[in-house]
């Protein structure tokens, strides 16, 4: 085993101290990342804190977070390393003009001209970093295949330099929004955790952890409202990120409870599609009325 992985309660407490409410299953999965040295694949709807989990893990372990944001068309070059061609050419010209002459191959293909991209950076770190491969479903199959090789071998071959072995194994976290089905091979290599929308109580705890000064009534009403919205057939159901944005928006308007004008002014923080806003209008009206009725008179 590696250096003693943090206990379940410890890890959850450390996460909470950094404003992240991790449930038992996620805490176990993250501990296994450290203990087994296997990558963790986090899947779940958008805005439930997948990326944030990796960031918090890095903060908790006190290591660097190296992030590789995947996108359509991402290739091995931009993920691994690239030679700084412009600088190499400049070096050649300068050598010619200066009459130095003796530019050797080793000179030109040395670390000086190597631009390390996230994956190479990650394996060259002294202390095992947290490597976040974000939204891996956006990259294509070819990149996924390349990633498999890296995750299995932990070494990168630069033809001009030789093979670079990982000094330490990074703690790898992959996230996916399921916009594309990942290959079985990649899934097999990884631990798996499905991140779901938090329960009402958990979400309330998250709001309090993230926005320490928030009014209790407001936090509760916002959480309830978001849960009611998630029950609707929305095109883009609000995630935890939206809950926090919404609460923050209401706080910045000095609202201490949810009311119809406040909802109207801040609706864009929760529902990001016009159809969704129209669809949710009756529900929101009902919620505002409920909140108004539930409020003690004169408050």
């Amino acid at each position: 085993m590696n250096a003693a992985p943090p206990g379940p309660a410890e890890l959850q407490a450390a996460f909470l101290a950094r404003g992240y409410v991790a449930d038992d299953a996620l805490a176990t999965a993250l501990r296994l990342v450290v203990a087994l040295g296997k990558p963790l694949l986090l899947e779940g709807p958008a805005g439930v804190g997948k990326t944030e989990a990796a960031k918090t893990l890095a903060a908790t372990l006190g290591t660097r977070l190296i992030r590789l944001q995947c996108y359509e068309g991402l290739d091995a070059q931009s993920a691994l390393y690239e030679w700084n061609y412009a600088r190499q050419l400049l070096h050649l010209r300068a050598a010619e003009l200066g009459g130095l002459g003796g530019v050797t191959d080793e000179d030109l293909y040395s670390e000086r001209f190597l631009m390390a991209r996230p994956l190479l950076q990650a394996i060259r770190e002294e202390q095992a970093p947290v490597l976040l491969i974000d939204e891996v479903d956006r990259a294509d199959d070819a990149f996924e295949a390349f990633l498999l090789e890296l995750l299995a071998e932990w070494q990168i071959t630069v033809p001009e330099l030789g093979t670079i072995e990982a000094r330490t194994r990074p703690h790898v976290i992959l996230t996916s929004n399921r916009s594309r089905e990942l290959s079985d091979a990649l899934r097999r290599r990884c631990l798996y955790h499905w991140t779901e929308y938090p329960s009402r109580a958990q979400e309330l705890a998250i709001v309090h952890a993230r926005l320490p000064g928030v009014n209790e009534t407001l936090a509760q009403q916002v959480t309830n409202a978001v849960h009611a919205l998630r029950a609707l057939p929305l095109g883009k159901p609000p995630g935890v990120a939206e809950t926090l944005d919404w609460a923050a928006a209401l706080v910045s308007l000095h609202a201490d409870h949810l009311d119809a004008p406040g909802i109207r002014a801040t609706l864009g923080a929760v529902l990001k599609l016009r159809e969704d806003q129209l669809l949710a209008a009756p529900t929101l009206q009902g919620l505002a009325a409920q909140a108004a009725a539930g409020r003690p008179p004169g408050a």
Binding site: M1, A27, T28, D75, Y192, G235
Partner: protein
């Protein structure tokens, strides 16, 4: 593997029995490596705390939301018996997967009931809560057969009486529950599938690939490599370009009773398309929804296509909108700009047509194209007045007839014409 020495042998035996069970019964892709990982994981958690053990094993052994649900059921069945020595036998496979049992799973952890399509044999998805009347009402055998209600359909319950009832009512379902979609037209369908794959003209990929002639971007790496031959002078420029994208397909097949043989034809076409391009995703829907892709992947070509009982996704009534919406949202079916969505349905819907519109607006926004294939459209005086078709029409690239193999052959040509129009 260093930690394995300390594992008590009976725990090791238990865990490997459990992994074998997941593998054999549910087709989990796990082997000795995963078993070893599971044991190492148990070394890292408190083995006496059931929640922790489950969390650890779940992280190691499952790999998708569908598998999570199966895992929870199997874990409960397997370890309750072993640990607490309860006399109750582990529930048999078909029982474990009825929807009612899902409440046993951990409330906070279980995935939503939607994005699941476990490998065969599949569970019966829960009927939609709002509009499905109590299934017991119309299930019993005593009800006079041969009277398919034209109006509301319900998801039939999964008991023994129903398959025969369904078989009697449905032209699609054979008495043995399995869906027989056999036919000897596979070679012809393969030709049609190849033509369709070839004919699709998509845009360019985002990824830059080296290309022979002049492209939009200079490939500095290869240019410099080539310059080494000419003493550092880059006389030969190398280029990068964006190749054409390979098409993906999403087939949504209406397996309801009214579709008759056309649905089985399209099933065979789906199989053919699947043999021609690996990027094919197939769903069948009737009152419920099932993902057929894994079943088709396993089906050997050349022998008549037989699918296991598809439950309420085949040979029942039609809820187009609801199921399309599930495909679009809960299943998160892989749809991007390279995807051509083919919906096969006659549009005779008993659900809410507004849902069809909403689902198609979603899909159309993400997809490269949406085509509705209707067997009814083959008749010369066809008008798209079926509720679902009418609701879908604004979001379709084309509404095309499909009544036989000839129509499938004509599909590429008609698609091109529709695109041009």
């Amino acid at each position: 593997m260093s930690g394995l020495g300390a594992v008590p042998p009976d725990l090791a035996a238990q865990v490997s029995a459990f992994t074998a069970r997941l593998r054999d019964r549910h087709g989990f892709l796990i082997g000795p490596g995963e078993t070893a990982d599971a044991l190492r994981a148990l070394g890292a958690v408190d083995v006496l705390a059931r929640r922790e053990v489950r969390g650890a094993l779940r992280a190691v052994l499952s790999a998708s939301p569908e598998q999570l649900r199966l895992f929870d059921l199997e874990f409960n069945a397997f370890f309750r018996v072993e640990g607490a020595a309860q006399p109750k036998l582990p529930p048999l496979l078909p029982e474990t997967k009825t929807p009612g049992r899902e409440e046993q799973t951990d409330a906070g952890q279980s995935p939503p009931p939607g994005p699941g399509q476990p490998p065969a044999p599949k569970p019966t998805p829960a009927p939609a809560p709002d509009d499905a009347p109590d299934p017991d009402e119309d299930a019993p055998d005593s009800q006079a057969p041969g009277q398919p209600l034209p109006g509301e359909e319900t998801a039939p319950p999964d008991d023994a009486a129903v398959p025969s009832l369904r078989a009697r009512l449905s032209p699609n379902a054979a008495p043995g529950q399995a869906v027989q979609a056999g036919g000897d037209d596979l070679p012809e369908l393969l030709r049609a599938a190849s033509a369709l794959v070839r004919s699709l003209q998509l845009g360019r990929a985002r990824r830059l690939k080296p290309q022979a002639n002049r492209g939009p971007k200079l490939d500095a790496r290869r240019t410099l490599r080539a310059a080494a031959r000419t003493a550092g002078d880059a006389t030969l420029l190398r280029w990068l370009g964006r190749p054409r994208r390979a098409p993906h397909f999403l087939l949504l097949i209406d397996g309801s009773r009214s579709m008759g043989a056309d649905a089985t034809l399209l099933l065979r076409f789906a199989q053919a398309l699947h043999l021609r391009s690996r990027r094919v995703e197939v769903y069948a829907f009737s009152t419920g929804l099932t993902r057929l892709t894994p079943l088709l992947r396993r089906a050997p070509p050349g022998v008549p296509l037989t699918l296991p009982d598809l439950g309420d996704a085949w040979g029942g009534g039609t809820r187009i909108g609801e199921n399309l919406l599930r495909v679009a949202r809960e299943e998160r079916a892989p749809v991007n700009r390279d995807t051509l969505i083919l919906i096969l349905s006659d549009g005779l819907d008993t659900g809410d047509p507004a849902l069809v519109g909403r689902a198609l607006r979603d899909l159309e926004r993400r997809a490269g194209g949406v085509v509705w294939l209707s067997p009814l459209a083959a008749s010369p005086n066809y008008r798209p007045v079926q509720r679902a078709v009418a609701a879908a029409l604004p979001f379709l690239d084309a509404l095309l007839p499909v009544a036989g193999v000839d129509d499938l052959h004509a599909l590429p040509r008609r698609l091109r014409a529709a695109r041009r129009a």
